[in-house]
């Protein structure tokens, strides 16, 4: 656990525009906590990829689905918890997060599959738990300024 300097919790519905609004609220809280722009940019990208996946997969077909995001912003790290009441991950396990082949011929280039690769490249301690009432994903993000645009 980190000694949280501040904590922010956002609830949203299964909608890409709600994701935009939630990200604006979350990044505002990170800015207010004094994180450098590079760390905020990293957090925004990881949270966007996680929330897009929840909307597109876990809550696919569940228009009443709910998502809750909690950030505990500490001195060196931010711990994120993302909960949703949707379908479980396939195999109740995290995807591998391999990078799709970007050296293929132009017509064979991948148009998707980068989300989990980016999450696993930029977040640490990623854990997934299937709970009786939904999915819980937790991960840690660095607040370190030295982590300038990895």
């Amino acid at each position: 656990m980190n000694d949280a300097r501040s904590r922010v919790c956002v609830s949203l519905t299964a909608d890409q525009h709600a994701v935009r609004d939630a990200l604006a609220e979350l990044t505002e809280a990170l800015g207010a906590a004094g994180l450098p722009d590079a760390a905020i940019g990293t957090a925004e990208l990881v949270l966007a990829e996680v929330l897009n996946n929840v909307v597109e997969h876990a809550l696919s077909g569940l228009s009443q689905g709910r998502i809750e995001v909690t950030l505990r912003i500490g001195d060196g790290t931010t711990i994120a918890k993302v909960w949703d009441d949707g379908h479980p991950m396939p195999g109740h396990a995290l995807p591998t997060g391999d990078c799709p082949d970007t050296q293929a011929d132009i017509n064979e280039l991948p148009e998707g599959g980068f989300g989990w690769f980016l999450i696993q490249s930029l977040a640490q301690d990623i854990r997934y738990t299937r709970q009786p009432d939904g999915n819980l994903l937790t991960f840690t993000l660095s607040n370190d300024m030295a982590q300038d645009y990895p």
């Binding site: 525009h17 994701v19 590079a38 940019g41 990829e49 897009n52 990078c99 970007t102 998707g112 990895p150």
Partner: protein, 117 residues
Amino acid sequence: MQLSTKDHGEIRIVKVGEQRIDAAIAIQFKEAVRNCAAETTERLVLDLSDVNFLDSSGLGALVAAMKLIGPNCKLELAGLTANVERVFRLTRMNTVFRIHASAQEAIGGSAPLADVG
């Protein structure tokens, strides 16, 4: 979708006025970029200097647009902000697209751009 177009010979510069290319607009963005290419356009350069956020959906939309525009017109990018540049670098898509520091550099000169229509 905010896209504004200026031609410089066979090079068409498309200034993207959106600050975010994300899952909320990826499909519309792909179609809008595709529709920017004219028959005589040899290079379509997207000026992304106002875009401060691009997620994997936005990246996918750019790849899809490049395929749709076809072999006779090259889709190139210019003016990537730090957040956007990192997504290209991490996914190695910076080796797929030709990326210019700025739209001005893409046209290789300092002559003023001519308005289209």
